[in-house]
Symmetry: C2
Subunit: 268 residues, 2 copies
């Protein structure tokens, strides 16, 4: 990304997009978002707007629900369940979504998800997870992370361009806990159009010295900002429009660019 700091925009707006209902498996989420943006009636400028969508609604639309009572825990899941004190069936779900285990301790299971990011419980979420058509007495139901969030972001970007005639960035977000710090923050797990990382390497500061901090986690900061208006308790605000943020479009953007490979990570 070659955007110069001097071109940074002076005013950014974040708008929680109304009109997205509770999403059920099979719902045409992309059309719902396009229509909600159209109904919002806010002017959109190409390469100056980003649509931020929580992964939870994407997971729901994809039908990523699992009835935990149907899960058979492996020996590995039983071991980790003994360490963590978690339900072995839930642990089985977590490890089946994971590439590797980062930390296991009482009440804590941090894994590297197959999508690359490291988070507690592979992002698997019980709260709000029951699908409408769940049979009486079934469950408890859990919701897995969406499949191919980068692809979903690209699809939404293409649909918005097609239907509304503007090129926007798209970021799919999840809430992650972190080492060292208390509380969750929004993080980008899918990206399209907008750079995931803003690379300032080679640029100089006001004194002509090479910049030391040169890689900004641009899409993660968008995810964190959007979380301020999206909230977490309700699923009624899963889409946030960010306006007034110029960026150089990146057709090859991927949230994978935000993932430090395990072998380069001192905390893996």
């Amino acid at each position: 990304m070659t955007r110069d700091a001097l071109e940074l925009d002076r005013r950014l707006e974040l708008i929680a997009v109304p009109g997205i209902p509770l999403i059920e498996p099979g719902d045409d989420l992309m059309t719902m978002i396009v229509e909600a943006l159209r109904a919002l009636g806010e002017p959109l400028e190409s390469d100056k707007a980003v649509v931020v969508v929580t992964s939870k609604v994407l997971s729901r639309a994809q039908g990523r629900f699992v009835d935990v009572s149907t899960v058979q825990p492996s020996a590995h899941a039983h071991e980790l369940a003994a360490i963590t004190g978690k339900d072995p069936r839930v642990v089985e779900l977590i490890v089946s979504e994971a590439e590797s285990v980062s930390r296991a301790a009482r009440g804590v299971l941090v894994v590297r998800h197959k999508l690359g990011f490291v988070s507690a419980n592979a992002g698997i979420d019980e709260s709000n997870a029951r699908p409408k058509q769940a049979a009486e007495g079934s469950g408890p139901w859990f919701l897995l992370m969406p499949l191919d969030p980068d692809g979903a972001a690209r699809e939404l970007r293409a649909r918005i361009r097609e239907q509304l005639g503007v090129s926007v960035g798209v970021v799919i977000t999840d809430s992650h806990g972190r080492p060292f710090r208390i509380g969750t923050v929004g993080a980008a797990i899918g990206v399209a159009g907008v750079p995931a990382v803003w690379d300032q390497r080679g640029r100089s500061d006001l004194h002509g010295r090479k910049l030391e901090i040169t890689m900004t986690a641009f899409a993660d900061q968008l995810a964190a900002a959007a979380d301020l208006v999206a909230g977490q308790a309700s699923e009624g605000r899963p889409v946030v429009l960010v306006r007034g943020l110029s960026f150089v479009p990146d057709e090859n953007a991927s949230a994978r660019a935000l993932v430090r490979p395990a072998e380069q990570d001192l905390y893996a």
Copy 2:
């Protein structure tokens, strides 16, 4: 913080506040910020606005410059310098600001700062660090983190209330790298008025189930959002006004609430 998700604001605005010059030691930063906010002329509502300030300008105003050529490295600094490949005098500065070393490797020195947060190089920054009155041939100059950023945040909140008649939140920010992920994000190292962590424990989701994700790093998300408009390369935009974010004021807020104690941290 007891704010309900249903009361979340629909529209958030972030404005880079113009008119803050390059800050030099002894400058009355607080007055400069108050006057820049006054000149901005944007209406401010109590408990609905947050002023976000980068730690760098606070450090500069506090005169936290060190001429590295005057630093005598200890034996411990020499050891860490050999591991990291860094200048032993810079390492001495880093460890003198640190409570403990988290990781040392080639090119990397991550420490727990005395202020509590964990970051690379104790947040000590070379770029842009030269003070105006530096003698010819002195340096290189480095800039340490500010003293008592919570106190500075409280002071700015008090000054804004006194001079402009509104109660705003204040967040002092730094840019932090992170385990697992590429790129830096804004993080809160000083907080006043606005809750550092938004605690939703005890609240229920749409299905009446207790929420699993219950602690949001509210001030960190504000810091990340502000960084989108503040940028990093220039020191010309160190103050960002966030409008339209209701919060229950917290007179005892502290950025320490965002720090996970080392003994509870699986990655310490």
